[in-house]
Symmetry: C2
Subunit: 275 residues, 2 copies
């Protein structure tokens, strides 16, 4: 519990998405001794999946996840384009040897106020992706997002809700726990225990700033906010989680404006001192 | 379920806090046929408690609540100033004949990351206020706030969490349900049923806008957002709730900038068409 060394850290490419391509992220992780990477698909497609897989392997990096599949609700029905895109995401995760495919499941369809219907659609979508993911041996990780994103990004807001879906869908599906999204939840300790090692597929870290000036792009570097990261990390590690600690920071006004090497150096320092 | 007439509406004074004094709010409610009012204490103190109680009574208005007591965590301990201020809030609610005293319980103390400790402090504070409130016959209503306020306003984020406290503290304490804070909660239906009529002490309405540009002051008029208000109202009414539908909208860039009579007219219209 005395901090995280770089050999236990992973860089989510969103953290330096304004500064670096995926190729630069791979080189940067190697340069800073950060053990893993989690690409977003836009940067992956820019580089090309095969080129990225080769470069990541050559750099000796572990892929802690691929961001992201999901978005099942956009059109209000489960259309073929969404099903196909999620199949491609599974294939890309397999090509990278990713620990999991992270799912941002989608919010309310345009014009809808019907959360229960959106949630049914999400579960139907996850089930359809899961068939293909099992065949490809890619773990599917539902990421519950903070309730402030329930309308426009994810109608799955808590670990408990995600695990209810996992219980119904069976093996091969679990959770990606991002401290930013769940730190406030009075039930988070019980739900981490309920998830267990098998279903704790990713652990994302950053911090909740006070004040938070924007709902999406004002996330903090570890140590700059109020989340007790060490406590949450202890809870997942007590279940046997041995994946990487993936740093994902959306920060329009701060970290996206800094030199990316400074960002990675700060991540390594804060991993050791604030997690 | 076919909308809310003005005889079932109440105006929370925060909705026109930039435009009107409490005296003007009282006159405005009478003018628009809105049956009730819920003063914030800053406006109440400006007018004076006795003068306000007289004016509200003369206008024939019901007081759906007094906003607000709580804030137990600010200093990191339960100090006498907070205890005393909450006793005064109880006395003011009694003087107004308010349906309840609404509690915004407080977030993390400055410099703290210890949510469990903050929650213990909140429960201790509520217990101390409740003794006095029972003697004064003032119902105490915990208002769970949206999880995005867990750090700086309320470490009680869900109805379930509030009701756990109510279960432990016994009679005289319940919940104020604001649709803005709980609409996303997959457990809200079950928790409304668990609360029952006795513990459903207030029902606040407004709407969740997409996008939401500010965490605090970008709430929407009923009908302008994505909350299924009619469904939530149906759930509380199914428990026998017969209080007023209190409209509380924080809106820096829209409703606080409009003529207050236009705001009240819109509330009456949207009560009928969007709730």
């Amino acid at each position: 519990m005395s901090g995280i060394g770089p050999e236990r850290l992973s860089l989510n490419t969103a953290t330096v998405r304004a500064q670096w391509s995926l190729a630069q992220c791979i080189e940067g992780c190697a340069r800073h001794g950060i053990a893993g990477i989690s690409p977003w698909r836009d940067k992956l497609h820019e580089m090309g999946v095969e080129a990225a897989a080769t470069a990541i392997r050559d750099a000796g990096l572990r892929v802690s996840g691929l961001c992201r599949g999901g978005w099942y609700t956009a059109s209000g029905r489960l259309d073929q384009a969404v099903i196909d895109d999620n199949r491609r995401a599974v294939d890309e995760a397999a090509a990278l040897g990713a620990d999991c495919l992270v799912m941002v499941v989608g919010g309310l369809p345009a014009g809808s106020r019907d959360l229960p219907a959106a949630r049914s659609l999400i579960e139907e979508g996850l089930a359809s992706t899961l068939d293909h993911a099992r065949a490809a041996n890619v773990p599917v990780a539902i990421e519950p997002l903070h309730p402030m994103y329930a309308a426009d990004r994810a109608a799955i807001s808590t670990m408990g809700q995600a695990l209810d879906i996992c219980d119904r869908l069976g093996p091969g599906i679990g959770c990606a726990l991002d401290v930013y999204h769940v730190w406030w939840d009075p039930d988070v300790e019980a739900q981490i225990a309920r998830a267990g090692k098998e279903r704790l597929m990713a652990f994302h870290i950053c911090d909740w700033l006070v004040p938070t000036r924007d709902l999406l792009t004002d996330r903090g570097m570890m140590g700059d906010g109020v989340i007790d990261i060490a406590r949450l990390r202890g809870l997942v590690e007590a279940q046997g989680f041995d994946g990487l600690n993936e740093v994902e920071i959306f920060s329009e006004h701060d970290w996206w404006r800094r030199d990316a090497d400074e960002v990675l150096a700060t991540i390594v320092e804060r991993g050791a001192t604030a997690c």
